[in-house]
């Protein structure tokens, strides 16, 4: 099993936004699980760090939160993407793809 990678600072925001875009309103635990599942457990997410990140996104107005009831009938705080958040996601995703493409090209050129 390859060593687990730490989530890069800054990429966590993108991951959260994308997750919310895909799943719709979701609570913190759900978001953490989803990120780990999708990354097939390669990413090691310290679940605790998720909450300050959620707060940061909310303060910037990209996501909003509301208390609700989960499918297992449990009280939880649900986060959902705002319109500004969706725009931000597009920008960040585009930026990320561009960066990834550049890095790929660089890597190929040297090898």
């Amino acid at each position: 099993m390859p060593p687990k990678a730490e989530v890069l600072q800054g990429t966590l925001d993108l991951l959260v936004l994308k997750t919310l875009d895909t799943l719709g309103p979701m609570h913190g635990f759900g978001i953490a699980q989803r990120i780990q599942q999708v990354s097939e457990d390669v990413l090691r997410l310290n679940q605790g760090t998720l909450y300050p990140a959620l707060l940061r996104l909310e303060q910037r107005g990209w996501i909003s939160s509301k208390w609700g009831v989960s499918d297992k009938n449990r009280n939880a705080k649900f986060y959902s993407l705002t319109r500004r958040g969706r725009r931000q996601l597009q920008e960040e995703a585009a930026g990320w793809n561009q960066m990834a493409a550049v890095i790929n090209r660089v890597l190929k050129a040297t090898s």
């Binding site: 759900g30 909450y51 300050p52 303060q59 910037r60 449990r74 939880a76």
Partner: protein
């Protein structure tokens, strides 16, 4: 950008909803963990395992909360609020420490601010006019004859109108040269007749000072044309608001000033108070109105023999004081030569000395320094004393903070061990110090404004200290607060740094007892105590000297029995009464008041006793052989019948004046013993004669009809001088009259009766300064009393602080050494020995501090020698008293800790550790 603002707003709002948000976060995290546990259970883990795994996946729960909180609010403000809350709680837990520290600071800051606010107004502030530093006051010291008026500087600052006018015309260094003179006037024409402060001013007065009108116009040189021709007046802003409700319709209306109708042409700018602090003119009048405004002075405006005008100039830009002085001297000398020619009759020798008088310029930025010359020294002494108190307060605070820092070492060690950050801990401790400093500052402001109000309120009327405000001077307030902040940071930080650097292991293990071995902080505290005791000794010495001075002044024999005597002054001449009318008024007032029930006797004097006024001249006594150039100056006043019996001055020989001594009867006088001894030693002076003035062709023509005991004139501090009394009926320029009424009961209730008696005689005559003679005497000692009262309170305060400091350090030492004391007692130490041990420590500190302080005081007291009366600057009794008092204070401060030490139960002490 909007994101940034949005974030900031969210964070700021979060500061106020901490509790709600905390609960919210707790709930969210709980729900997260529950879901995680549920999932783990579903995956087949045991309850215990599921919980452990959930927490593991989550990472540090507390760290998350902390970083979440940091993210949520404004970290800096948030922790500051936390620190403040914590500091507040800690301070509330030790109310004794807190109140002593805050009180100490409040007193130090308050006293300094109050005294400085007063000092600044009197001594430091420039005149509120444009470019005050270009103003200069003219003075010309040297010999003179003729009639001279002076409020300072022995006539050197008084000029005759002709000389002033010639200087103004000929000098090229001034952009303006003004003359003015403060006088008392009676004002009527818009309501009842009232006394007011007038100022006779030159036409260019306002232009020179660059003072604008706030209504109408101010004077111009065109308002100074010829004697009696300029019937106009400018009101001061204060008088206009006070007296006329700031009504603009006063403009161009006539005011009856000393019976002369003057047209009000304007109101001077707000905040302009003339060129002399402590004197506020109400009404400005052209100098050409002199004869009308000063009816009793006699000499006309253009008289070369009358030196009565202070002169102030404004230097042209670019001309220095020295340049101006050099350029003026030649002009002035030639002016004096012409002046001497006009006046004539100068001897050759005198002429040379007169015409070689210098003309000097002194800075006029602060105006004419009349009030300053009297109050400078007391104010500086008070400033120094409050400065010392502030130092003591800081030393005290430092001691308290160091002690507290020590006492909290264990607490700090525990918190460090639990993982608290060092920076955060230091910040905690500092916040506490700052909180104390701020509280002290706030209390200090309140105290300062109360103090200043009390002081300004205590200034008696007629003390030349009008118009002093009770506004606090915030510069010194900030200075005092900055000083205490620095103190609290320094002495709050030092122990905090040390406390956080301790070796946790040893501090926690070894507990209190080991700390007594670290001497550094105890040493620091002892030094602070020594400094405090030394400063206190200085203050106590000053207080002792000033208190004895006041006591001496109060018990000094004035030669006058002032009890049950009421005084009041009237100036019929200012209502344009002629001297003959004034004389008639005086006679009938004397009769009218004599007939009032409750009046034992009544008399009057043309110059009030125990005021700053006096009148003097040279005399030629019959049969006295004068040495060449001998100064035969005596003081004199005109009095009425029964003057000496009314004031309780014993008649030694001859008789008092009676109603028979009229204007036409032979000239008579009564002399005091001092005059008799000096000029008639060995002879009976009764029946001999005296002449006013000196010279070859003066023939003694005033018969001595009585000799009275010596009495003081100006006040308790004045010396007994030769004194000559004459009947008021024989005064050709009778003007102001001051009545003295001896009653057979408490005098105050007579006030209304007397007022109505006077208004029956002349309803338009203002009655001034109606009060008990004892109050007048007491007011003449106002500055001595202020200095004594303040210095005694400050010194007692200092002693109290020193006692608290001593008590604190000894209690601390005893507490630290409880175990050692216990062992000593267990080994058979006697209670008395322990008592001696602790008291000995305190006494040692006191003796060292006290000795230093007393030596300093012995040196410094020379500086205040001129303020003392009846006690020398090194009065042994005072210094002995200081030593004794310090000793008593020290013993009292030591006693409680010493008793506590001597009652240590060895068993408990050893087990307790």
């Amino acid at each position: 950008m909007t994101e940034f603002i949005r974030t900031l707003a969210a964070r700021f709002l979060a500061l106020f909803r901490r509790r709600d948000l905390d609960r919210d976060l707790d709930a969210e995290l709980r729900s997260h963990l529950e879901m995680a546990i549920e999932r783990n259970l579903a995956q087949g883990m045991s309850q215990e395992q599921a919980r452990r795994q959930a927490l593991l996946d989550f990472g540090g729960l507390e760290q998350t909360k902390e970083s979440y909180r940091e993210r949520r609010g404004l970290a800096f403000l948030d922790t500051l609020l936390q620190d403040l809350r914590f500091a507040f709680r800690m301070l509330r837990k030790s109310p004794g420490f807190t109140s002593v520290a805050v009180l100490t600071l409040a007193l130090g800051i308050g006293a300094n601010t109050a005294i400085f606010s007063l000092t600044d107004q009197i001594l430091l502030r420039n005149l509120p006019v444009p470019d005050p530093e270009r103003l200069v006051v003219l003075r010309s010291p040297g010999p003179d004859n003729g009639h001279c008026w002076s409020d300072i500087d022995n006539c050197a600052q008084s000029f005759s109108y002709p000389i002033y006018k010639a200087l103004r015309e000929q000098a090229t260094v001034f952009s303006g040269l003004l003359a003015y003179r403060g006088i008392a006037v009676n004002v009527s024409g818009q309501g009842a007749t009232q006394s007011a402060h007038g100022a006779l001013v030159s036409g260019n007065y306002f232009q020179t000072l660059e003072v604008q009108p706030s209504l109408g116009r101010v004077f111009t040189p065109a308002d100074e044309t010829a004697p009696g021709a300029n019937t106009v007046a400018v009101l001061s802003y204060g008088y206009w608001s006070r007296q006329f409700g700031a009504d603009p319709s006063i403009l161009n209306k006539p005011l009856l000033v000393n019976g002369v109708p003057l047209t009000v042409v304007g109101v001077a700018r707000k905040g302009f108070h003339g060129v002399q602090i402590g004197e506020i003119p109400d009404i400005f009048i052209p100098v050409t109105m002199k004869s009308q405004m000063m009816p009793t002075e006699g000499l006309p405006l253009e008289d070369h023999n009358d030196f009565w005008l202070p002169v102030v100039g404004r230097l042209k830009p670019g001309i220095s004081q020295a340049q101006a002085q050099a350029s003026l001297q030649a002009i002035y000398t030639s002016l004096l030569k012409e002046d001497a020619k006009v006046r004539g009759g100068f001897g050759r020798d005198f002429l040379t000395r007169y015409t070689s008088k210098p003309l000097l310029l002194i800075s006029g930025a602060r105006g004419r320094l009349v009030l300053q010359s009297d109050t400078e020294e007391p104010l500086l002494v008070l400033m120094s004393m409050v400065g010392l108190v502030l130092l003591i307060a800081c030393a005290n605070l430092a001691g308290l903070l160091v002690a507290r820092g020590e006492a909290r070492q264990r607490e700090v060690a525990v918190r460090l061990a639990l993982g608290a950050g060092r920076a955060r801990l230091i910040r905690h401790l500092l916040t506490e110090s700052l909180l104390i400093a701020i509280a002290g500052g706030a209390a200090g402001i309140a105290l300062a404004s109360w103090c200043l109000n009390a002081m300004v309120g205590a200034i008696p009327p007629g003390h030349g200290m009008l118009g002093l405000g009770n506004k606090l001077d915030f510069r010194v307030l900030w200075f005092a607060i900055a000083l205490t902040l620095a103190t609290s940071i320094l002495f709050g930080l030092a122990p905090a740094m040390r406390a956080t650097r301790v070796d946790l292991h040893s501090t926690l293990k070894e507990q209190g007892s080991s700390i007594s071995e670290r001497h550094s902080s105890v040493g620091l505290r002892k030094l602070l105590i020594i400094a405090q005791v030394a400063l206190t000794a200085v203050l106590l010495a000053a207080a002792g000297l000033f208190a004895r001075t006041l006591a001496n002044l109060e018990h000094t024999n004035l030669g006058v029995n002032a009890n049950h005597v009421l005084q009041f002054s009237v100036s019929p001449a200012l209502n344009s009464d002629t001297p003959v009318q004034t004389l008639q008024f005086a006679d009938s007032a004397w009769l009218e008041i004599s007939a009032l029930p409750g009046v034992r006797s009544v008399s009057l004097s043309t110059i009030p006793i125990f005021s700053d006024d006096d009148m003097g001249f040279n005399i030629t006594p019959q049969g006295y052989v004068m040495k060449p150039d001998e100064d035969t100056n005596v003081l004199a006043t005109y009095v009425g019948p029964n003057y000496f019996s009314t004031l309780g001055i014993p008649l030694i020989a001859g008789r008092e004046f009676t109603e028979e001594d009229g204007p036409a009867s032979p000239k008579v006088c009564i002399i005091n013993e001092k005059l008799a001894q000096r000029f008639f030693a060995g002879h009976n002076p009764i029946g001999l004669h005296i002449a006013r003035g000196a010279g070859n062709n003066v023939h003694p023509d005033i018969e001595i009809v009585g000799v009275v005991a010596n009495s003081k004139w100006g006040g308790p501090r004045s010396h007994i001088v030769p004194f000559m009394y004459m009947p008021y009926s024989q005064e050709p320029h009778l003007g102001e009259l001051t009545f003295y009424v001896r009653t057979d009961r408490e005098p105050e209730p007579m006030v209304a009766t007397l007022r109505s008696a006077i208004s029956r005689l002349d309803p338009n005559l203002p009655v001034n300064n109606m009060r008990a003679l004892t109050a007048q005497i007491s007011d003449s000692m106002f500055d001595s009393r202020l200095v004594a009262t303040l210095s005694v309170s400050l010194a007692l305060l200092a002693a109290l602080m020193a006692a608290l400091g001593l008590y604190g350090v000894l209690s601390y030492v005893v507490a630290r050494r409880t175990r050692e004391i216990g062992i000593r007692m267990a080994l058979g130490g006697l209670r008395g020995d322990i008592l001696r041990l602790v008291i000995g420590q305190g006494v040692r500190l006191t003796v060292i501090g006290g000795l230093i302080g007393i030596i300093v005081a012995l040196v410094a007291s020379q500086w205040v020698a001129s303020l003392l009366y009846g006690v020398t600057a090194r009065d042994p009794l005072t210094f002995l008293g200081v030593a004794l008092l310090l000793g008593l204070v020290a013993l009292a401060a030591c006693y409680i800790p010493a008793r506590r030490a001597s009652h240590v139960d060895p068993l408990i002490a050893l087990r307790y550790e």
